[in-house]
Structure formats: structure tokens, C-alpha cells
Symmetry: C2
Subunit: 189 residues, 2 copies
């Protein structure tokens, strides 16, 4: 059932993922779904859990902040793996139900890069927000572009989707750089 929902999500997008459409895809009446899930929100939380769980840990390099970078890209890839994945995860993030593991994964990676646990937790929150914001934006653009509702990249630069990975890396490196600078400041006294 969650599988069928993910299929609709990926094929037709979040707006088309309705309880009625999901029921139809399972050859069942819409009301039948409410025996399995109390409401749509809970269904989406389940999907969010599955999406972030797919985040396969990448091999971390040897350079500074490489675990953090790897975890951030792994999360991005997991979100990009399903159409509107970021939207789904974002919508359930505040509930604290699903996708909590995403934050923990980032925090662990930051700690693995040798940063203090207290900093790692707060930085993970910041990084998570950046990742969600970035990928949401990226996927929204993909959707609008495919609909022909093009918008010539507000600001004028017009780098397009190809620049997204670069922009993402830039943001991640900025946060890592900030962490390193903070650590350097402390160790200097």
C-alpha cells in the first residue's frame, strides 16, 4: 500500500497522490484505506520515512568535513529519487513522526568529522533546513519546467537545473567552513 502510493508519487506527483486515486490503483474503495491508516497525513509520514531511509551512505573522502558532505549528498539523492520527495518529507518533518532519522544521520556525520556533539546537533538542524529548502526548490522547478510554466531564473543569471548540484555543494561547504571556523576560534582561545 505504501508501495502503491510511492508509485503514484513518482509517476504523477504529489498533487495527484489522492486517497481516491490510491484506492483506485489498489482496486478498492477509498474508505478501505482508512482501515490501514487513520488519515492521509499518517500515510505521508510513512512515505517520508521510506524516502529518507533509502539514503545510502556514500563513501566519505579523507578531506575535512567529508562525512558531512557525503551525508548531505546522500540525503539529497534520496529526496531526488522520488518526485516531490522533498515536499513529502518537509510536510512531515515538523510532526516529528517521520524523517527524524534524516536529522540524526546528518548530526552523526558532523560528529564523525570531529565536531563537538552540541555543535553537531545544532549544525545538523541548519544543514537539514538548507537541504530541504534547496531540494524543494529544485524539485518545484523541475515540475514547473516540465509543465512549460517556465520562469527565467529570478535574478537574471539563468544557470538552470545543471547548476543545482554546484549550488548545493556550495551551500554545504559554506556550513562546513563555518563549523571549522568556529572550532578554530575555540581552539585558539
Amino acid at each position: 500500500m505504501a508501495r502503491a502510493a510511492l508509485r503514484i508519487l513518482d509517476d504523477d506527483g504529489l498533487p495527484d497522490l489522492t486517497m481516491r486515486r490510491l484506492a483506485a490503483s489498489l482496486d478498492v474503495q477509498p474508505s478501505a484505506l482508512y482501515w490501514h491508516f487513520p488519515n492521509k497525513q499518517t500515510l505521508l509520514a510513512e512515505l517520508a520515512d521510506r524516502i529518507v531511509a533509502q539514503a545510502a551512505p556514500r563513501r566519505a573522502g579523507a578531506d575535512a568535513g567529508s562525512h558531512t558532505r557525503a551525508a548531505a549528498f546522500a540525503l539529497r539523492d534520496a529526496l531526488l529519487a522520488y518526485r516531490d520527495g522533498a515536499e513529502v518529507v518537509s510536510s512531515t518533518l515538523a510532526l516529528g513522526l517521520g524523517a527524524a532519522s534524516a536529522r540524526e544521520g546528518l548530526a552523526d556525520a558532523i560528529a564523525a568529522d570531529g565536531f563537538a556533539r552540541t555543535d553537531a546537533d545544532r549544525a545538523a538542524t541548519a544543514l537539514l533546513h538548507f537541504v530541504m529548502g534547496h531540494v524543494s526548490h529544485e524539485q518545484q522547478r523541475l515540475q514547473y519546467d516540465s509543465l512549460g510554466v517556465v520562469a527565467p531564473e529570478a535574478g537574471g543569471a539563468g544557470l538552470g537545473a545543471s547548476g543545482s548540484a554546484d549550488d548545493f555543494a556550495f551551500g554545504v561547504d559554506l556550513l562546513i567552513g563555518g563549523l571549522q571556523a568556529a572550532r578554530a576560534r575555540v581552539s585558539e582561545g
Copy 2:
């Protein structure tokens, strides 16, 4: 009309901001709205523009990165000024229609802090994504908390809404620190 919509948004939230409800608040038939706006999306873009436009530039301090910090907080305040403000702005960001000025405002502030224009533009994108992600999360929590659908802060720390401003500042300072570190690296050669 946009005024009436903002009123509903603030009083009852985005889910209750329907075309039918807006029409009723104006003592008009729903179909009448379509003479003024082609669709709901355009209406929301208009609202996003107005929300972001309210971002009153704060007085920047004298310390490094103060313009950037001030602009980030001004944007956060503007988003927080309306219920679900971040959601509304996020939803129209990818369209490139409304809220484009938010990114420009941040980029200008970063440049005003003495960073190179090319870095400023990319950093503004990262900062914007962080701000949107953070405030969206914050406002979603506010809504869930008020509905009693409490979630004990995934992760266990349980800092609550009071920690939001601190977390926000931490994230902004991380990004500013990253920019400074990058600049230092360049000037060293």
C-alpha cells in the same frame, strides 16, 4: 482583495484560505475572483510578494557579517508576521514570480558585508534556502502545537519554540563564518 486574503491567512491559516472562503469574505461569488486573478497560484504569488516586501531592513551592527545577519532576521520576521507565511513564499519561490526580491535582498546584504558579488549570489541562494526551511519548520510546529498534535521534538533534546531564534542565529552565523573562511583562504593565496 489581497488584503482580505492576507486576513484569512493570518486568522485561519493556509488550509482555510480557499477561493470560496475568500469570495465569501468579500460578499461575492467564487467565480468573481477569476476576473481579478487567473488562478489561485497567482493570488498566492501576490501574497508572497507582499509578505516579503514587509521585510523592514534592520539596523546593521558594526561587526563582520552584520548586514547579512540583519537581512536574514528581517526576512525571518517578515515570514513570521503572517501565519504560514513561509509556506506561502516557498510555494511561489520556484515560480520566480513573487518573492524574488527576497533573494536579491540577501545578496545585496552579503555584498554590503564586503564579499565578492559572485560569492554573494550563490551564498544568498544557500541562505534563502536555509531561512525558508527553518521558518517553514518553525511555523509548522506552531500550528501542530496549537492543535495539540504535539510531537516531543524529534531527537529528544526538546528545546521547543523558544530555541528557534537561537537555532536560526546559529545557522546564519555558520553560513557567514563559511563565507569569511572562504575569503581568508583566497586572500592567503
